[in-house]
């Protein structure tokens, strides 16, 4: 197989509140022989909030990030669902609207950049599934996760709006019956847990202003996984991870029941199956202890 190479847009959390996500991304890419060129020039994507204040500025900044991936001539790979949505949405809007693209490029020209629309944008989860292939992952599994019931938590911004998402990856995914993460769990040797909340919202984006709503959604998600005998949860989104891993006290209070499960990043799960050490995967950085390794 030709060596895969991507431009990595880390997003902000991987460098701050989820260092384990950065570590495990690099560890897994290393095991899979995937080369990642980090976009060190990239700014924050605005996390779906900047656009509420200043849509045009958000577009310009995201177009700038994509322009750097284009300069490398590489597909941009994201490791955060919200980065994925914001960046892919920017690409979608600029590619179908020449006038808007010209307005954005007028600004980018001030700093010697241009958005062309030549780079694809995909989440690392789909890069593994579409480009690397689950069969190839299976061949590399040295520690199958066969003793675990694993609950996938997809995260809204990877599966909705599905029309946009399905432009960005090759294997079609339904927002109502997503399969990618389930398939990856199975490829790693684990048993996938089916539960109602797996494609629902964790509440992250309203956490500050709507604390009860956000905590209730987090609580329901963990409770759903627990009630279906999950040993732990796995998610491709660091923002979902932050909610599910660090907010269990608020979540338990909101739904009137103690809930907590270890929550792994998608990369950490793959890393475990590929034989990475807990240190390489940053398992010590979790607030809800990963007690099964």
């Amino acid at each position: 197989m030709k060596k895969l190479k991507y431009a990595l847009f880390t997003g902000c959390t991987a460098k701050q509140s989820t260092p384990e996500q950065m570590k495990s991304t690099l560890a897994v890419a290393n095991k899979l022989g995937i080369e990642l060129v980090e976009l060190v020039e990239a700014s924050c994507c605005g996390a779906s909030h900047l656009q509420d204040f200043d849509d045009f500025l958000s577009l310009v900044l995201n177009a700038r990030n994509i322009a750097y991936a284009e300069k490398h001539g590489l597909t941009m790979v994201t490791i955060c669902n919200t980065c994925q949505l914001n960046t892919a949405m920017t690409k979608h809007r600029l590619d179908k609207d020449e006038k808007l693209k010209a307005r954005v490029n007028e600004k980018l020209a001030e700093v010697g950049l241009e958005y062309k629309g030549t780079s694809q944008i995909t989440h690392f989860l789909y890069a593994i599934i579409d480009d690397f292939g689950l069969e190839e992952v299976k061949k590399l599994v040295v520690k199958p996760l066969s003793q675990f019931n694993i609950a996938p938590f997809y995260g809204c911004h990877n599966i909705r709006p599905s029309e946009l998402q399905n432009e960005t990856h090759k294997s079609p995914e339904s927002a109502y019956r997503p399969t990618s993460l389930d398939d990856l769990i199975i490829a790693c040797g684990g048993a996938n847990v089916d539960y109602e909340e797996k494609n629902k919202c964790c509440g992250f984006h309203a956490e500050l202003q709507a604390q009860h709503t956000a905590a209730t959604l987090t609580g329901k998600a963990i409770a759903g996984a627990m009630d279906n005998n999950a040993d732990w949860m796995v998610t491709p989104c660091p923002l979902c991870h932050l909610k599910l891993d660090t907010q269990t006290a608020h979540a338990s209070h909101a739904i009137g029941r103690d809930v907590a499960l270890p929550v792994l990043h998608m990369q950490q799960m793959v890393g475990l199956a590929l034989g990475c050490t807990p240190d390489e995967l940053g398992l010590k950085h979790h607030v809800t202890k990963v007690d099964f390794v």
């Binding site: 460098k15 996390a47 909705r160």
Partner: protein
């Protein structure tokens, strides 16, 4: 519309049954039916009533996706029954389908729900044109095609409730207006003839009920049978609140604006700084969680942040491309 020949297949239906006047708890009836590829979900509801149980109740009227009466949930997915083809439902969910009302806790009889909360929210956003029209105007009020374009999509809403009862916030926060009401509010806010403008926006800005409590899950955009894309309208309302000067300083507005400041300073986000900027003194409530995160190496102090390279470009762009003020 596919051109394949009409095919039939066996589908197992589990159908929600409940009569609020008689039943203490709901129950489910099961039917195995031969379903043709040309049928829509409403055809199945009709067949259950006409062929199996005349007491089965549901709302229907136009059968053409315009009256908005027949929305139900199929395997948990809000669905306009007269529009959704069985073929697609089977392809999506397989041959075991569960038919339920849009909201089980609001069920009156079988698929029929009490939609009072939906209509209350709808009415609360003043879903009509407010304009001081002269009794004998001297000329017509011209609206350009571009101006009409702005509200066209939102105007397609048929008030079916599919998005309202798919919205996770509506389920938890009974004050929340919900995506349908927001899309409707946008339809009039975007109308150049409307004069309510600020007073309607003030209601949409209010905590608990207003747009700031949206969790951005995109469920509303996903389920809408008319492609109204409510979340996009919610985003536009957010922008309008700033543009019209209605947005007051609160945790949500500071959070949105804080991104700009953080990006201008570091390129990347200063996560702790953003929460501090958004919350102000109220940040103390986050300290217990923050402390736990700190002990796990999850908090980077402002001086430890790796700033974006070529930061001067970002600073320049933030200056030259900003279009909003707060």
């Amino acid at each position: 519309m596919s051109t394949h020949a009409i095919t039939t297949q066996k589908v197992n239906f589990k159908v929600f049954r409940f009569n609020a006047d008689e039943d203490y708890l709901p129950y489910y009836d099961s039917y195995e039916m031969e379903v043709t590829s040309e049928e829509v979900v409403l055809d199945i509801l009709n067949r259950i009533k006409w062929d199996h149980d005349g007491s089965f109740s549901y709302r229907r009227s136009c059968r053409h996706g315009i009256c908005g009466a027949c929305a139900i949930k199929v395997n948990g997915r809000s669905t306009l029954a007269c529009k959704e083809r069985m073929h697609d439902m089977v392809e999506l969910f397989g041959k075991d389908l569960t038919l339920e009302p849009l909201s089980i806790k609001r069920a009156i009889k079988d698929m029929i729900i009490d939609k009072a909360d939906f209509w209350e929210k709808h009415a609360a956003v003043k879903p009509y044109l407010i304009s001081d029209v002269e009794e004998h105007p001297e000329h017509e009020h011209l609206v350009t095609p571009e101006e009409a374009e702005e509200l066209l999509e939102a105007d397609l809403c048929i008030q079916c409730g599919a998005c309202h009862y798919a919205c996770p916030v509506v389920e938890i926060n009974s004050d929340f207006f919900g995506p349908a009401a927001f899309a409707k509010a946008y339809r009039f806010e975007a109308d150049v003839r409307d004069e309510a403008h600020i007073s309607r926006l003030e209601d949409l800005h209010a905590e608990q009920q207003g747009v700031w409590d949206c969790v951005k899950c995109y469920e509303c955009a996903e389920v809408c049978p008319k492609d109204v894309n409510p979340i996009e309208k919610i985003t536009k309302l957010h922008q309008m609140l700033f543009k019209e000067g209605v947005a007051t300083s609160n945790v949500a507005t500071r959070h949105a604006v804080g991104f700009k400041h953080s990006i201008a300073r570091n390129g990347v986000l200063d996560e702790g700084g953003l929460v501090l900027y958004s919350e102000g003194p109220a940040i103390v409530k986050h300290l217990p969680v923050a402390f736990k995160m700190f002990t796990k190496g999850k908090i980077v102090p402002p001086w430890g942040i790796t700033k974006s390279q070529n930061l001067d470009e970002i600073k320049k762009l933030v200056k030259s491309s900003s279009t909003a003020k707060f």
